[in-house]
Symmetry: C2
Subunit: 139 residues, 2 copies
DNA sequence: TCAATCCCGACGAATTCACTCGGGATTGAG
DNA sequence: CTCAATCCCGAGTGAATTCGTCGGGATTGA
């Protein structure tokens, strides 16, 4: 997750922390992170004070990698999956629409490849601290 | 559907015909075509010998129009819908991932806009008649 | 030893997708 | 005029996917 990118270089982050910051159930995050670990994108440290860390720098991890790890091969339709071993649909011979999906798929992967985790880690300077519409202003 | 593109200029095609050629249930096609009609992409003729026709030339209908008619506004995630009146997700303020989805969406619409129905009507000369692997070869 | 943390498999509810069903409204042909 | 072909329409169903839960086991620093 993006949260991990923000946290990069500060040691492992526990799921409990991330769950609190992202407001998502911890049990759910566990499932997601399993895929990230198997894809080699994050490393885990077990035991007390353990947690997860990015396996390498945020700007060397493309969103395509992340998405593939979380949701499988990019495939707008099953007949246009990235996975070379995908099953062709029965109509494959006459189905010209496949061309369309392949183009869409390439457009998507292009967009995903062009962004890295670092692009989504908000530069602190330009990001407002979310003022909660005037609740606790110091003025 | 593409089938209608092939049929362009030959008078209305009945759903029964299309269903036979595409090997899809007629009742299902009815549902799809309703959206195409409401979007002004096809016109219908009722009564005996009626059917559907493209409302204008295949090369003036982009696949983006077709897809929007059939599946609603392009939206890889609900927080990045084309529809300006979409609901922002609760995290909208701090969620930088939105940027990613908007880019993906634009890549997709770009690809869809660049193709017309005419691109998917197979040029007869280059399309094999599907030989059914050597069943009736004349050699 | 103990508590924090990761690890893992199974389960469940909500939503979406592809498709069916049954019947009504229109209209050309005989 | 009548009839059959065809479009029109809303409701319903079954499977798959997505998002999330639950309970318990394995590791490890303090």
């Amino acid at each position: 997750m993006v949260q991990l990118g923000r946290h990069y270089g500060a040691g492992p982050a526990s799921l409990a922390e991330i769950a609190a910051e992202e407001d998502l159930p911890r049990a759910y995050l566990e499932q997601l992170v399993i895929n990230l670990r198997e894809a080699g994108l994050v490393t885990s440290t077990r035991g007390a004070r353990g947690g997860y860390e990015l396996a390498h720098a945020p700007d060397s991890i493309t969103m395509a990698e992340v998405l593939r790890a979380l949701e499988g091969p990019v495939a707008p339709m099953l007949c246009a999956s990235e996975d070379p071993g995908h099953v062709g649909c029965d109509r494959s011979a006459r189905c010209t629409v496949n061309l369309l999906w392949v183009r869409v798929r390439d457009a998507v992967t292009g967009a995903l490849d062009s962004m890295t985790l670092a692009d989504l880690v908000p530069p602190r300077s330009t990001l407002q601290p979310i003022p909660l519409q005037g609740a606790v202003t110091s003025s």
